[in-house]
Symmetry: C2
Subunit: 82 residues, 2 copies
Amino acid sequence: MYKALVYVTLKPSILDPQGTAVKKGLESLGFSDVMDVRVGKYLEVSLEAEDKQDAREQVEEMCKKLLSNPVIEDYRFELMEG
Amino acid sequence: MYKALVYVTLKPSILDPQGTAVKKGLESLGFSDVMDVRVGKYLEVSLEAEDKQDAREQVEEMCKKLLSNPVIEDYRFELMEG
């Protein structure tokens, strides 16, 4: 059993209205030192795989096909065993 | 300037319908070895602070007040300098 920690973020050139909204929310709460906020997704995917290489290939495929939109998003992931 | 990488996840006891939907989506794409999917948020917060301790306290406050819902969510973060 493997667990993949997947981080999906908007590409740097893509505008992030959700991040802007969070930044404004923080400012209105008095956090005046916030320069920038970017919002992404974090997923934990537990899966069975033959070995770590197999798990990595499966998660890579998942990221490309469903978990991220490669046109506007980047992804990276870490794999943990057990 | 500091950058906080913030991870917000549902508490383990809270049902995650979004994770269930992603799991079904993966299964329908042929990923039959997926056991579980949990969906969370990932935020990158850039902020000015006097030192690392000050930055840590600010981000801790942000997480409690706005970035997470402490009733149903857990959070953790890493701080990077520069």
